[in-house]
Symmetry: C2
Subunit: 229 residues, 2 copies
DNA sequence: ACCTGAACACCGTTCAAGT
DNA sequence: ACCTGAACACCGTTCAAGT
């Protein structure tokens, strides 16, 4: 699927993409702590040192993994251009086009992070490197930018949304594995009021996004093309 | 300072608190990657195995470290009770008492996290364990609760604030060390528009908090005791 | 272009035993 | 109550050398 068949030598020599795909598989099935260079090499039938021909170090590898996770956040449709503003939209509580678009991006990002075990932690860890999370920032900024805010406002707001999303999903995923390991602090175990509980998770996520978008709409009421009131 | 002098044996036998204090020192001076059980043991002049008398494992130790970091977020004054609502306050753009109080807590938390290298990451990693971050949640929830929202709303909103704070500061601290190592992705190096830059850091943080608090004030306009308009 | 072999300098954790 | 000694099963990374 991911690889383009490469050359015809029997014992597969691997490409960069092969390595990333194998890393994603380990991440998904066994989690970040088990994603070691040695284990990755073993699943590829290769010596650990071979990986260093493809990647300078583990951090770089993880950045590529983060990249793939975030790339899967593309909401179904095409790559670059959405269809044109199609007539009537079915108005939520806060239904400027830019706010809906931003929420769609945030939801897609959450889904993508949840799709891989420890996904949020991997993406968070590569935030400063400007990969993985970089595309997420671009997409969120683009959505918010539809509101006609000045560029800097859009960027800072997008960063706030991204930080909330990463923080929230990271918490959710920690909870998932803590529960599966039965490791929680005394007097706090299996706390059903925890906002990261699977039941309350989606709800708390939606609320957080709503707070940010509502705040943005209130604070920076730029000339929007819609909603004259 | 932290230890209560203990017994009189010459070669110091250590307490749990001693271990945590030493861990905090390593964290602050060398960062999380250097905070290993073996190195920690060495600075205490003890075998690595000795640490396992005090803590079940490294994760538990880190939770205690997180605890200490967050505990330092207490805004100067006393422990439990603030002084009474002292007369006139100098009104910000959004100056309900609860909003100001929440901002004070968020600021104190950011300062506490920034005070130790990789502080945000340490606290984040123990979020699901209900220590460290648990106290932060309590404090934020308490501040927001002053707005008279129902308990569940206060809790979810506090979690949103906490997730934003952890995500933002984590990014800031990653930036700090990435810059000091000169390790940034090509075409992205030393990006001055990055919201996690030291210059823009505080500004972006304030803006994010404002978005959340404004959104909360707008969405759940509970009967406040103040601001009749 | 992609990989092996061998080494270096580390990890967290367990457990019997000591004082 | 607190620690030693010794071991187990691992890590990430480098580098000369092979094909």
């Amino acid at each position: 699927m991911t690889n383009d068949d490469s050359s015809g030598s029997r014992y597969t020599r691997h490409s960069r993409d092969d390595v990333v795909a194998a890393a994603l598989a380990i991440l998904d099935q066994h989690g970040l702590p088990d994603l070691t260079m040695r284990r990755l090499a073993a699943t590829l039938d290769v010596q650990p040192s071979a990986l260093y021909w493809h990647f300078a170090n583990k951090q770089t590898l993880l950045a590529s993994v983060a990249d793939q996770i975030v790339a899967r956040a593309r909401p179904a449709g095409a790559g670059s251009g959405w269809a044109d503003d199609s007539g009537a939209d079915d108005a939520g509580a806060l239904s400027s086009g830019w706010a809906d678009a931003t929420r769609v991006e945030a939801d897609a990002l959450r889904d993508a992070l949840l799709a891989f075990r420890d996904g949020a932690e991997v993406v968070s860890s590569t935030l400063a490197l400007g990969l993985g999370a970089g595309e997420a920032m671009t997409r969120l900024t683009g959505a918010i930018d539809g509101g006609g805010f000045d560029r800097r406002t859009s960027e800072i707001a997008a960063a706030a949304v991204l930080h909330f999303v990463l923080g929230h999903v990271s918490h959710e995923q920690q909870r998932l594995q803590a529960d599966s390991l039965g490791v929680v602090a005394a007097g706090q175990s299996a706390d059903p009021s925890d906002v990261a509980t699977s039941a309350r998770g989606r709800e708390a996520f939606d609320f957080g996004i709503t707070l940010l978008l509502t705040g943005l709409a209130e604070l920076a009421p730029a000339r929007l093309s819609e909603s004259p009131a």
